[in-house]
Structures are given as structure tokens and as C-alpha cells.
Assembly symmetry: C2
């Protein structure tokens, strides 16, 4: 039997968070929760509802001059013996409470209860955010239904602990390799030690001065770090190969090509292989809808130091920011939880923004 999200539950973002948390939806297993969300959106009666796999899209069509997007994923990382949800004082515990069923609950609550928004609104609920990019529901929409992403501004309800986190850093992973010549360790002068050569790569990393750049008032701090090192053939052999995996987190004023050019400069003289890359997202806080949102929030935005799906909106030219009640420090943890007052406050802030007449 499909779970039912009653009007009473939909009217209360806290009850709705709990109801969504209690529908298990580890990445790849989102059928039941998506069915429940789709049914609730259809029941609202004022929305055009579409579905693509386990992505559901609900749109108002009120002829407003601009359209905004509220988006959240419905999947979670694997359960860690932390379901069903439990409440202790002001905290709700359970898998997905922070990342990000409390955020998605706010969006669904607003979809069900805000009849006359000042903007046209697209509500997007999607699957497979916690797994590889090709399975990501928002990525599939961008490929197969890009019209669902039309809009002038997007808010992703990923956990930010109630802060406005604008844009996001880009991320690039490269493998830096050193090469040597094998020899027996008892006659090491016949070889050349590739692990010793990695010392210079690590020296450059240690000496690296990370850039900090302020964009739209948000300070993006970059970082360049070895995240893995591996070398060695056998305990009596001079190793002929060592590899260092380096992760570069870069401010969104750099594109991926620029990031790579920078890494080539830092690691000049070494072989470099890019294994992973995703662009950042500029905060885009100059857009009218963004400015209005910030006016309602009344707090200065900060830079998102991490990579999120806002980058997918940015890649389509839509400024996007992160704003959610969850505490990102508890995402993916066994003791994952959300502060209940932050759910209520987040819902109120977004309701005020959506219902304040545009300038």
C-alpha cells in the first residue's frame, strides 16, 4: 500500500518531514516516496504535474512575469539503523532528516499550500542525488526535459543550517604520476625511486597558497589537496611508479579549463590525468528574484564551500542558491538529525518570499 500524505500532514512541514523520512528511499529505491509525492501534488489541484522516472515536476501557470524553481532530492544514503524517525526535544533524528527530506518537505508543503505565489513556481523532486552523476534525476531532466528547468532563479533545499549559501565551488580531481626504474632494494643505485620523486609534488602542495575570492559578497576559499597516494611494487623492489590523487576545489569565477590550466602550472614537469571534474556555480545574487529572496531572509549570504546540484542550474544559466534547514555536519551520519525550529523557520521564510508581491 502506498504511503498517503494527508492534507493535515501536508499543512505541517514538521509532520511532513517525519512522514517523508519514514518512507525508506535509499538511492535507487525511490518508487514509493515518488508515488506519494506525486499523489500529493496532483491532489493540490492547482499544479501541472509531470513525471520522468522517479522525478516529479509540478508547475504553477499563473502568467507571472518570472518563474522560480524550488528543488530537492528524495533519496538518502543507506539507512544506518536510524529509521523510523524519532523526536527528542527540538531534534528529529533519522536517515534523511538533514539531507534532505526536511528541505524537500518544505518545498512540498509550499506546493500544497501556497495558492497564489508572486512568481510562477516549479517544484522539482528527484532521485539518485547521493550516487553517481549519470543516475542523478536532475541530470536526467537536464538531458531529457530541459524545459522543466526554465526559470530565472532556483533554490535548492540542501542542508545549510538555515543559512543562504550561494553558488558553489567547482571540483576537479587529477592524478599526478612520477616514474622511476625498478631495481632490487639491495642494489638501489641501479634504479630510480618514483616514491622519492613524489616528495617534490607533496612539497608543492604543502607550499601552495590557496586563493580566496569574493563574488557578490561571498568569500570563496579554494583548496588544493592530495586525497590519496599510492606507490610500491614489493618490499624489496625500488618502485618505478607513484601516483598522487589531488582534489582541487575552485571558486566559481574559474571555469574547468582555467582550473586545469592552473593545475598544469602548479604541477609543471609531471604527468597529469583528469579523473573527475565539475564546474562551480556563480552566486548570481544580482537577479531580481534572488535580491527579493535575500531581502526576505534579511541575512548576508555566504559562499557554498562544496559542490551541489546548484551547479546543474548554473550550467543552464540559472542562478541558484542553497537554503535548507538541515545541518550539513550531520548529513550521512548515523546520528543525522534536524532542528525542528529550523524547519518551521525555513518554511516561513520561503512562504514570505513566495507571497510578497514582486517589485
Amino acid at each position: 500500500m502506498a504511503a498517503v500524505l494527508t492534507p493535515e500532514i501536508l499543512a505541517d512541514p514538521v509532520a511532513l518531514t517525519r512522514a517523508l523520512v519514514d518512507i525508506e528511499s535509499v538511492s535507487g529505491d525511490e518508487q514509493e516516496i515518488t508515488d506519494a509525492v506525486e499523489a500529493a501534488l496532483l491532489a493540490a489541484g492547482r499544479l501541472s504535474v509531470s513525471r520522468l522516472g522517479n522525478v516529479v515536476c509540478a508547475r504553477t501557470d499563473l502568467g507571472r512575469p518570472s518563474r522560480v524553481i524550488l528543488a530537492g532530492h528524495l533519496d538518502t544514503v543507506p539507512i544506518a539503523d536510524n529509521l523510523p524517525a524519532t523526536i527528542a526535544g527540538d531534534l528529529m533524528y533519522g536517515c534523511g532528516t538533514s539531507d534532505m527530506k526536511s528541505g524537500s518537505a518544505i518545498a512540498l508543503h509550499l506546493a500544497a499550500t501556497v495558492a497564489e505565489p508572486a512568481f510562477d513556481v516549479t517544484y522539482l523532486f528527484y532521485d539518485c542525488e547521493e550516487v553517481e552523476s549519470e543516475r542523478n534525476g536532475l541530470f536526467k531532466v537536464s538531458q531529457q526535459q530541459p524545459d522543466w528547468l526554465d526559470g530565472s532563479f532556483a533554490i535548492l533545499l540542501e542542508p545549510t543550517h538555515g543559512l543562504v549559501e550561494a553558488g558553489c565551488q567547482g571540483t576537479m580531481r587529477v592524478i599526478v604520476r612520477t616514474h622511476g626504474t625498478r631495481a632490487h632494494a639491495a642494489r638501489s643505485w641501479h634504479g630510480h625511486n618514483a616514491i622519492h620523486d613524489a616528495g617534490e609534488v607533496l612539497r608543492r602542495l604543502s607550499a601552495y597558497q590557496a586563493r580566496q575570492v569574493t563574488i557578490d559578497g561571498c568569500a570563496y576559499r579554494e583548496g588544493l589537496n592530495a586525497v590519496r597516494i599510492a606507490g610500491g611494487v614489493a618490499s624489496n623492489v625500488i618502485p618505478d611508479r607513484c601516483e598522487i590523487e589531488v582534489n582541487f576545489r575552485f571558486a566559481p569565477d574559474r571555469g574547468e579549463a582555467d582550473a586545469l590550466a592552473h593545475l598544469r602550472e602548479v604541477f609543471q614537469g609531471y604527468e597529469l590525468e583528469v579523473t573527475d571534474s565539475a564546474p562551480g556555480a556563480l552566486p548570481g545574487l544580482d537577479r531580481p528574484a534572488a535580491r527579493q529572496f535575500l531581502d526576505v531572509v534579511g541575512e548576508a549570504p555566504v559562499a557554498k564551500l562544496g559542490w551541489t546540484d546548484v551547479s546543474r542550474f548554473a550550467a543552464m544559466g540559472i542562478p541558484a542558491l542553497n537554503f535548507g534547514p538541515g545541518d550539513p555536519n550531520f548529513a550521512h551520519k548515523r546520528d543525522e538529525h534536524v532542528e525542528i525550529p529550523k524547519i518551521r523557520a525555513g518554511a516561513e521564510t520561503l512562504r514570505r518570499w513566495l507571497t510578497t508581491p514582486a517589485d
Copy 2:
């Protein structure tokens, strides 16, 4: 049916090498070859023959003023599609031809054919040299029958390509560890990168000036090398731990305690764990039997740059050197082979030494 080493075969060290090679004897499977060797030694009629597992010991008891030891192992590394032995011109191919059935064949040939040696001689044939130390036949003898190792000088017929390689280096392995603090790679300044810290360890290794020391005319060159490095938690996490496995090959004028003290000095400030250690062996070329052997050979000895079982003799106070016909560069290789003239030359040299009246 057990293989039979006939008097004709025993009289010819080349034929004997081939016969021994054709008895498969990968470490742990030496019963058949040991039976054949034991039978041949008993058939000689002049030797006291004892056995311990798959170790066989044959001694002359002629009341000579000094006793020397000739030793060789009977096991091989796994067959690599290279049996039975084949002959091509001056080369005999096959598993064990170099390491070290040609050497053991010379010892067995001499045991069978030298009736009146100038020294009393102990011939030792043992198992499991190619595997872990605790299974090594010579190690077991040192524990259970140390009297079999009585003597003033020992020759191990390990492959040296006909050179006299004196003593051996010691070897020690340590793991050097660095410690940091985990953090998300997008906010790396909250953590401390243990891989970056490994850079200083590698810098010290790169800058290390290995010592060379001459003992009894033999130049021992030391070496200090990373043989393995490993660090990393996940591709988005600042790593909190990195380990570097370092192999120190040290000249035999250092003991193990001295070697470790030296490593503690080189890696001062870092956690260090010893994972493996074996002492070197001094060449001991000042002993009369050694000097007589060198006179017969007529060539200057060189240092053994590697670790061999001579160290087990050295640990019991018996100087020992390596002298065998095999080419160590082809040991353990699919195309393992021995130069047939080196078998004949080695047998002749040893026969001359054993039969030259002592000073």
C-alpha cells in the same frame, strides 16, 4: 619410484645439475629430491649422514684440524613452464638451474668424489629457502641441530656467477607514519593533510647520502629507500594518515640495534614501526680456511649486496661467503639458466681448495 643419482651422474657436476633440476622441488615439496640426495650420500660410504625433515647433513670425520661447510638449498621457486631442463649450446635452462641446483650439484658431486679432503667437510642440503624464514631448513638446523653447523668457515653455493661474494648486507623495514585531521576536501582548512606531511619524509629520503664502507677489501654500499607509500580516506576527504614503508640495506659493520638507532635519527620526529629485520654478515676473510680458498680462486672477493643465508652462519660466529655458478640476474625468471662452463669451473676451484694441503 625415487629418482636415482647414479655414480656416473654424480661424477659429472653438469649431468648432476640436470638430474637435480629435473626432480621438481618447489618449496614445501622437497621429499623426493632429498631422498635422492640422501641415498647418494649414503652410497658414498665415507660420510656420516643425518637427516632432519628435508634437511640432510653429511660429514667427513677424518680428524682434520679444521672443518668447513658447503651448503646449498634444494628447493626452487614455482615452476614457470620451464621444466625439464634443456640445453642450448653452453647454457642449461630450467627452474633452479641458477638458483641453486647447479651450486648444490657441485657440493653433492664433491661429497661423492673427494675422498681425502684437506679439511673435514660438512655438506648440508636443505629445504624451504625460497619461503618465509620460519620454514627455512637451515634455520631449523640452527634451532634443533646447531652441532651440524660447527665449523670454521662456510661456503654457500648461492648464485654469484662464479664470483666470491663475501658476507652480506643486513636489511630492516620500518613504517614511518604521519598523522593529520580529517575534513571535507571542500573545507580543507578545517583539517590537516597527513599526505602533505609525508613530503618531508620523502625529502629526507631523497637527500639521504648512503654510506659506503670497505671491510676486508669488500665495498658495502648501503641504501635507504621507500618501497611503498599509502594514504587516503576518500576522494573528498582530507586524509588523516599516511604511511611510508622504508627498506634500509646496511653494511655488516652495523648491528640491527645500530641500524634502528640510525633510522630513528634520520626520521626524528616521526612515528616508526619496525616490521622486518635481519642482520648482515661480516665477510670474515681473515680466517685461514677463507684465505686458502681465496688463494685458490685467485680473484678479489666483492661484497654481497643482498641478504642470504650466510647471515645464519655469521649469527653463529662462522664466517661465510657466497660462491656459485648461477647468474643471480636470472634467478626466479622464466628464462632461468646457468652457463655450463661455470659449473665445471666452480667444481674445479672447490676441488682444488678441498684437496690442497692446509698451510
